[in-house]
């Protein structure tokens, strides 16, 4: 009759030592060790870039030193020229992502529940999915013009499939035994859906959402490189044409940070929705 213990990791292991004064010190050392093993390679990469560029090991015209990239980033954000691009890029990818989630999740839940619908729609979905969104971009431009609508639509198109397919898969993978259990208690189909199928599908849905977020940023850049006058993708191309290499890298860095931020938000949301699976909860 014991509750299963969850291993508390290196910090907890340090606490079991005989020495009673040192634990805090050891905890700090342990945490520093964690940081080094996790981010050491990244820090080393940045340092190597900086030194290599300053020392001329790599061509500073193509790879400017990190401090100049950061300075360009600072100017762009404070001066406002990059800030507007961030805003318009966020708007494009945000609308597309929200639309993809708003359509993909309910449609996926529905398709996963009703095998007939899934069977009927699966071939055309697979066909569309394998058709590159970028190849279809000219079609969307013909239909919707070269404005915002075609850009948002091409991002939406590519973003829809990861979340839709992950949701369908998630619903189909829900443990039949749990559904049967629910039925034996007299739960109606809709109740079982709400109380069993939906919560069980949340983790796979989030896997799809995170893939979709990555796809949204990817397609954002591609669409902004074709016939755009604003946005981070436009700035990357434009800075390169004008040989403003630090600014180009500043825009690339911003894109990477946007991707990381989007992922972090989704991970945090998933953790919050799936608190029951969190080891820290025990």
């Amino acid at each position: 009759m014991t509750i299963q213990e969850i291993d508390s990791g290196p910090v907890g292991a340090a606490r079991t030592g005989e020495d009673r004064i040192a634990p805090t010190l050891r905890a700090v050392a342990g945490r520093a060790g964690d940081f080094v093993t996790r981010y050491g390679v990244l820090v080393g990469f940045i340092a190597l870039w900086q030194v290599g560029s300053v020392q001329g090991w790599i061509n500073p015209a193509v790879f400017p030193p990190i401090d100049r990239i950061l300075a360009a980033l600072w100017d762009g954000l404070v001066g406002g020229s990059l800030l507007e691009d961030v805003a318009i890029s966020l708007q494009r990818s945000g609308i597309a992502f929200a639309a993809a989630a708003a359509l993909g999740i309910p449609l996926g839940l529905f398709m996963g529940q009703i095998p007939v619908v899934e069977r009927a729609l699966d071939p055309i979905l697979q066909f569309f999915r394998q058709t590159s969104a970028l190849a279809l971009y000219p079609v969307f431009i013909l239909l919707l013009g070269l404005g915002e609508t075609s850009k948002v639509f091409v991002i939406f198109w590519a973003t829809l499939f990861p979340v839709l397919l992950a949701t369908i898969g998630g619903v189909k993978e829900v443990d039949r035994k749990l559904i049967e259990m629910s039925a034996t208690f007299g739960a109606r189909r809709l109740t079982t859906f709400r109380r069993v199928v939906l919560p069980a599908s949340i983790p796979p849905i989030f896997v799809g959402l995170r893939l979709s977020a990555t796809t949204a940023l990817l397609l954002l850049i591609a669409s902004e490189m074709i016939g755009a006058r604003s946005g981070l993708g436009f700035q990357v191309m434009n800075a390169q044409y004008n040989f403003q290499i630090p600014k180009m890298f500043a825009a690339i860095l911003l894109l990477a940070l946007l991707g990381l931020a989007a992922n972090a938000i989704l991970v945090a949301l998933q953790r919050w929705l799936c608190r029951w699976a969190d080891p820290a909860n025990s």
Partner: protein, 257 residues
């Protein structure tokens, strides 16, 4: 819900000419043939037999999860058509919802029937106490041991206050010592709750410990089913001479010694 102290609870099962077969690799495999049986209200019936003899199939038909090819099952006179709120099933695996706490899982059965949450939780707490998990009300399933998880499953089934408790090898996956403790608890719960208990088991000792009657399903479909009355005082002593005698008799039926 006024059934909380309903003392006219029944739970009489009447099985008539029940047959069921499955298609397996193009062949018909008969698992139940013309089975007729009456189970009295409040009786404890254990079903034993070799693998593939139809134990679980019979239980699933009683639960309304499977449909017989012919014959019928009546509960308190009414034919069984699908699952019903007069029965609760305890499976071999606990089948807990990992995102709900122990309390949430135990209240689940009532909540899906539309009982308001506070009322469902109140009743759930009573049964969580009954299975000895009061301290673990707020724990999540992955924090529980196998035996504890199975108790939660038992509490969940009891909370809906069924007339008939159907158990499909509920202790099969537990270690030997936990199993004995749980058998004692099942005997106590069955006595306190006065439910009809129909349970499938592989374990002959478990069957004798818990049963009023043991239904022996033969592996060979030509052979007759047998009913063994277990006429021993409760609580039962596994080492008593008559208990051992019953076990020897049952084992002999399966060619074991």
């Amino acid at each position: 819900m006024t059934v909380l102290n309903d003392d006219i609870r029944r739970g009489e099962v009447m099985i008539r000419d029940l047959s069921k077969s499955f298609a397996l690799k193009g062949q018909r495999l008969t698992v139940l043939r013309n089975l007729s049986l009456d189970i009295a209200p409040g009786e404890s019936l254990m079903i034993v037999g070799p693998s593939g003899c139809g134990k679980t199939t019979l239980l699933r038909i009683l639960a309304g999860l499977d449909v017989p090819d012919s014959g019928e099952v009546r509960i308190d006179g009414a034919p069984v058509l699908g699952v019903g709120t007069d029965r609760a099933v305890i499976f071999q695996e606990p089948r807990l919802l990992p995102w709900l706490t122990v309390l949430g899982n135990v209240a689940f059965g009532l909540e899906v029937r539309g009982v308001p949450r506070t009322q469902a939780c109140e009743r759930a707490r009573r049964y969580i106490r009954l299975v000895g998990l009061a301290e673990f009300e707020d724990a999540f399933p992955r924090q529980l041991s196998g035996g504890m998880a199975q108790r939660v499953g038992i509490a969940r089934a009891l909370t809906v206050q069924p007339e008939i408790l159907l158990l499909d090898e509920p202790l099969g996956a537990l270690d030997a010592m936990t199993k004995i403790t749980m058998q004692e608890e099942l005997a106590r719960i069955w006595r306190e709750e006065e439910v009809t208990m129909v349970m499938v088991t592989h374990d002959l000792e478990e069957a004798i410990y818990l049963a009023d009657r043991v239904l022996v399903l033969p592996g060979d479909k030509g052979a007759q089913v047998a009913l063994v009355d277990i006429d021993l005082p409760r609580p039962r002593n596994r080492n008593e001479a008559r208990f051992v005698k019953y076990r020897q008799n049952l084992m002999a039926r399966f060619g074991l010694h």
